[in-house]
């Protein structure tokens, strides 16, 4: 039977070059590439497993919160590596609120590894 019953809600932020954190509403944002084309990114299209794609809504955590947070961290790094055209974003952050087994809500910030300067 179920190991845990936890809920979470996460919000995606982009950290810009000036250090400002900009909320990516619904996990979506657009940038203009070097060639001038508009490129659209969507978190939920890139991250779909383990209920990690559901942003900004209370979602049931599969298996448990510890493993969900672990996969969120990996997902942040994975997505960061796959947006090379978005030179404006220095790193991605997830603001996660979670409640384990109906307990009080806790919060945590997760951050991707920053973009390497050579790739900017």
């Amino acid at each position: 039977m179920f190991a845990e019953s936890s809920d979470f809600k996460s919000v995606l932020f982009r950290e810009m070059e000036n250090g400002q954190r900009v909320r990516a509403r619904g996990g979506e944002w657009e940038i203009r590439s070097r060639s001038g084309e508009i490129v659209r990114y969507s978190w939920s299209e890139m991250v779909q497993e383990f209920h990690l794609g559901y942003l900004e809504q209370v979602t049931h955590a599969k298996t448990g919160m510890a493993v969900t947070l672990k996969y969120m961290q990996h997902a942040l790094d994975w997505v960061m590596q796959r947006i090379p055209d978005d030179r404006a974003t220095r790193r991605l952050h997830l603001y996660v609120q979670y409640s384990k087994a109906g307990g009080p809500w806790e919060e945590v910030w997760l951050s991707s590894t920053p973009r390497e300067p050579s790739k900017q």
Binding site: M1, S5, S6, Q48, H74, A101, G102
Partner: protein, 432 residues
């Protein structure tokens, strides 16, 4: 030391009827299909998994191309179906084990206890004589008997799962306090199912604690009492109720069915220890003559002709019963009716008013198949074809998720029909 060695050797050398193992293999085959089908749905919805966030266990683990990945899923479905009907059984089990294990290792986020249990089950099946019973090829064998050590390992594995699950939850304050089950919506079920006076009588906090204690008790109970002959049938019934509720309420993909498949290994290793005496005339008797062999997957029932006017059933303990109560006793020997008839059969422990004398010296009736072998085979192929067509169409038609989820419940009657037809195809030579 010598004694331990002797016990181990005795266990390794133990042999017995393989019908339970054959049914377990069929169920595992259907679960291979169900598991692969889920990933086929994901593929249809989201595309190739490598194009989205995934987490391989190790960098050196070989990733498949999209075509290979799709072929693996199709291969699993084919192997699962072959396992279910018992055709090319051993190659199908080996292939399913290799493909399923490889697929399990592709993505850390795809790990589930039920998928691990399935991989372990396939490994043990590949080492067991699982192709000798309950298969299209087993009709040539009179009574399939073989080594049981791998079956014992599967049973031990199930008990360890129950024990580990119950112990970890007992030690987890969130679980033992009832908060986890409260969060999973058991109170909603209770409020909708229980009579209003009971809902108002019992405080919610106490009730959820009671349900939690009951769930933990059931896991401990099943871990231990499936091994105790006197309590085995009670434990099987409790287990069916426990996993049946979880499956209907939460649908845990394959776990419930895997457990029910392993339950067949716990069945007492005796054959034809129930006798049903059927009068020659009567529509019901003619129906039973054909229906019982089809439903008697474990080869537990012997049919005999009776000169009397009423049906008499002799149970494994030698006590005989007639009429409707006799049929209830008979139902406890048939997998599809066990859950419904077992509680009713317990009445006999309260009174002996249903007991009758056992008829003597009646001739055995050869089981009559419900239909000819060729017709049964054609029907089996048709049912499997319909099932696969449904799976295929629902997978690649973009139905809402909830509709697909409800389709899972069509599996239950279809699986029962498939297993009944496989059993039907064994009738005749095997029992003579």
């Amino acid at each position: 030391m010598k004694e331990i060695r002797a016990i181990v050797l005795r266990w390794v050398d133990s042999i017995g009827p393989l019908s339970g193992l054959g049914i377990c293999r069929s169920v595992l085959g259907l679960m291979v299909v169900r598991d692969a089908w889920g990933y086929l749905q994901k593929y249809a919805d989201r595309g190739f998994y490598l194009n989205q966030f995934n987490l391989p266990y190790a960098d050196w683990y070989p990733a498949p191309t999209e075509a290979l990945y799709f072929s693996i899923l199709i291969g699993l479905i084919v192997c699962g179906m072959l396992m279910a009907i018992g055709a090319l059984t051993k190659p199908a089990v080996y292939t399913a084990f290799v493909l399923h294990s490889y697929h399990l290792g592709l993505n850390e986020m795809w790990y589930r206890h039920n998928r691990y249990f399935l991989a372990l089950g396939l490994l043990l099946l590949s080492l067991a004589p699982c192709d000798r019973a309950f298969s299209l090829a087993s009709s040539r064998v009179s009574v399939a008997v073989g080594s049981l050590w791998s079956s014992t390992l599967l049973k031990i594995q199930l008990s360890l799962i129950y024990l580990a699950s119950a112990l970890s939850k007992t030690l987890d304050p969130d679980w033992s306090s009832g908060r986890v089950l409260f969060g999973r919506g058991v109170m909603k079920d209770w409020n909708s199912l229980a009579p209003e006076w009971l809902v108002t009588l019992l405080p919610r906090t106490q009730l959820v604690e009671l349900i939690t204690i009951s769930a933990l008790f059931q896991e401990f109970f099943l871990a231990i009492f499936l091994w105790v002959p006197l309590m085995r049938r009670v434990a099987l019934w409790v287990g069916i109720l426990f996993h049946g509720y979880i499956e209907l309420r939460y649908s845990v993909i394959t776990f419930s069915y895997l457990v029910l498949g392993v339950y067949f290994l716990f069945v007492r290793p005796t054959l034809r220890d129930r006798i049903i005496y059927l009068p020659r005339a009567g529509t019901l008797c003619r129906f039973l003559r054909q229906a019982i062999p089809s439903l008697d997957w474990l080869n537990k029932v012997e049919l005999r002709e009776s000169s009397g006017a009423r049906i008499v059933v002799t149970d494994f303990d030698g006590r005989s019963y007639r009429g409707l109560f006799g049929l209830i006793i008979l139902g406890t020997a048939l997998p599809l009716t066990f859950f419904f008839t077992f509680p009713l059969s317990l009445v006999r422990h309260l009174t002996d008013c249903f007991d009758v004398a056992t008829p003597k010296g009646r001739e055995e009736i050869a089981p009559q198949p419900w239909m000819s072998r060729s017709n049964a085979l054609a029907l089996l192929v048709a049912v499997i074809g319909i099932y696969l067509a449904l799976v295929w169409s629902i997978t690649f038609e973009h139905f809402p998720y909830s509709n697909r989820h409800h389709f899972h419940f069509f599996d239950i009657p279809l699986f029962a029909v498939i297993l009944t037809l496989v059993n039907q195809l064994q009738l005749g030579p095997k029992r003579k």
